[in-house]
Subunit: 335 residues, 2 copies
DNA sequence: ATGAAAGCGCTAACAA
DNA sequence: TTGTTAGCGCTTTCAT
């Protein structure tokens, strides 16, 4: 007693299976009366076409894949959520996979694209630049988020406008009267980090302020790293009055370090982050940050991808999305 | 110049396509010498079997699906991450979909299961009890997380041991000397909430303490709801000295409310949550909570699902996972 | 150990 | 407007 096939429906409706196919595919070429009979047969048998057989015959699977280092991190999962929504709107399903290391990444790409299981691939990876080299270029692909700043205009990318984000964040501190501004960066290897450093430096240069290397501490985006950075930054001799932290998690870690040093936030130290993670408003003090629309990154990425799948000759596009300042309680006028 | 097929390989290797198939499927019945020739032809053409054609012929797609209200929420995304990892280990791909409302949920179930696109379904949904009624029971399915407490032993479920978790959390407060304990619950409709209420009540009854209805406030798991609940709870006449909040997000919201009332945490108010969200240690004070292993929920769920897919006659199983107390700074001895 | 034939469930191209 | 004929690329069954 397995599933009914198109032929069962045809037999019941007294037509050829091809007519049933036409009804399924909403072809106009079917007489309403015939269509009705077929529809009824379909309903009666609760017939549902086999997606696999359709894929086989049409040469299209209706699936896109998404690879991220993990599905856990808020930045990744929100990009994926946006992507998933957009994919469904475009009639695609999204296969989500996590590949923590380069080996599993390549294995996945092989299994997904080469096997024809999915029609396109969205890659969320901070170290994308290296990885992308090895991805067969004939496959529809889009790089999104973090490190997707490829300089080659041959691939679809969707990224944050990191440089501007950092510029704006730093300017916010400058406008509050701060001149002694430190920075906690992400891993230097990531293009995203580099762009944010650039924006920071541009902002300082705009005011003829010096860049002090000892006030640039590298982190790995984690709250723990932010804490360590804070301990290093605030423990030394001269102390900055404000810190631009390249993401919210590290900013929160830095809060902890500031408290450990008995500093009052924001009166003795202003802190600004990037991301606007969900609970940013619930830290103490509430975190001032640059809001990033992660879901939109996912949506845009799928838009580019679907377009490329539909027509592989579509020229690739590089999207850069803006951020907005969300001023909360962790930044204040320098006193 | 499209992808090579099994016949191209066969032609190049000078064998029948069937022999190639045997090599692909690692059948023992191939002479090593022949196998070598075929393997070389495969490598030479960079041949990769079509997953769709394999699915068609084998009647198996090698895909599982996962539906959650969204992919964003940390509780969901971490379950999915665990599920994805387990799925890959078992040779499956995981299709992740979000269905915010019941309509899209059913549409998804139809499109995924009935179409034969996926072999099994994992549902993460707080309102699962109602939804499950409408899911055709002949499909391999597992309910995970939040509301998956079905009383019918006919389905696979993986849930937190909510009652014990609440019992332990409340006992922690009792052991600190608190007797005036309030609770902020999740939506009453969710079984998960109900179980946690049960555990709370059992703990109080164990000490002959009364349950005070005015000290039970309902929330929707969000930080905002926790804040509102806190305002209601702490603004009135008699004030509890401790609050058991049914999840961490609401607990953090309650922190905010306590601060608004000028209460010092934890000296004037102890707060305990459930979940141990990633930044729980970075709130002020660091949040005491019951840690839940979300990824394990996902892994267990996929284990059950894969088992049922492999043999649909496998009796279903109900897994309940334990929590552990993570004592941080938000709870203290009553003074 | 290998090959030939049939068919998985559907769609596309052609014929009527 | 409908039906017939071929596949899609692979596996399974049965011969050899």
């Amino acid at each position: 007693m397995s599933r009914p096939t198109i032929r069962d429906v045809a037999a019941l409706a007294g037509v050829s299976h091809q007519t049933v196919s036409r009804v399924i595919n909403e072809s106009e070429q079917v007489r309403p009366q015939t269509r009705a009979r077929v529809s009824e047969a379909i309903a009666q048998l609760s017939y549902q076409p086999s997606a696999v057989a359709q894929s086989m015959a049409k040469g299209r699977t209706g699936m896109l894949a998404c690879i991220a280092p993990n599905l856990l991190d808020f930045t990744f999962s929100s990009i994926i959520e946006g992507a998933q929504t957009a994919a469904r709107e475009q009639g695609y399903f999204l296969l989500a996979a996590s590949a923590p290391d380069e080996e599993s990444f390549h294995q996945l790409v092989e299994e997904l694209l080469t096997s024809g299981r999915t029609e396109g691939l969205m890659v969320i990876d901070p170290y994308v630049a290296e990885l992308s080299r090895n991805v067969p270029s004939e496959y529809p692909i889009v790089f999104a988020g973090g490190g997707a700043h490829l300089n080659q205009p041959l691939v679809n990318t969707v990224v944050l406008d990191d440089e501007t984000a950092a510029l704006m964040a730093t300017r916010h501190l400058l406008e509050l009267g701060h001149t002694q501004i430190a920075m906690v960066t992400g891993p230097r290897l990531e293009v995203c980090t580099q762009k944010r450093i650039l924006g920071f430096e541009r902002a300082l240069h705009g005011r003829q302020l010096p860049i002090r290397p000892e006030w640039m501490v590298e982190g790995d985006w984690s709250a723990e790293a932010g804490y360590s950075a804070g301990m290093a930054l605030l423990g030394g001799g001269e102390r900055p009055t404000a810190v631009f932290v390249q993401n919210d998690q590290m900013a929160v870690g830095l809060f902890q370090a500031a408290r450990a040093h008995g500093l009052d936030l924001p009166t003795q130290l202003s802190v600004i982050g990037i991301d606007d993670i969900p609970l940013a408003a619930y830290f103490c003090p509430p975190l001032t940050t640059m809001r990033q629309d992660f879901q939109r990154i996912g949506r845009e990425a799928i838009r580019l991808l679907a377009r490329t799948v539909a027509d592989p000759t579509t020229p690739s596009e590089q999207v850069r999305l803006p951020v907005t300042l969300v001023a909360r309680g962790s930044t204040a006028v320098k006193n």
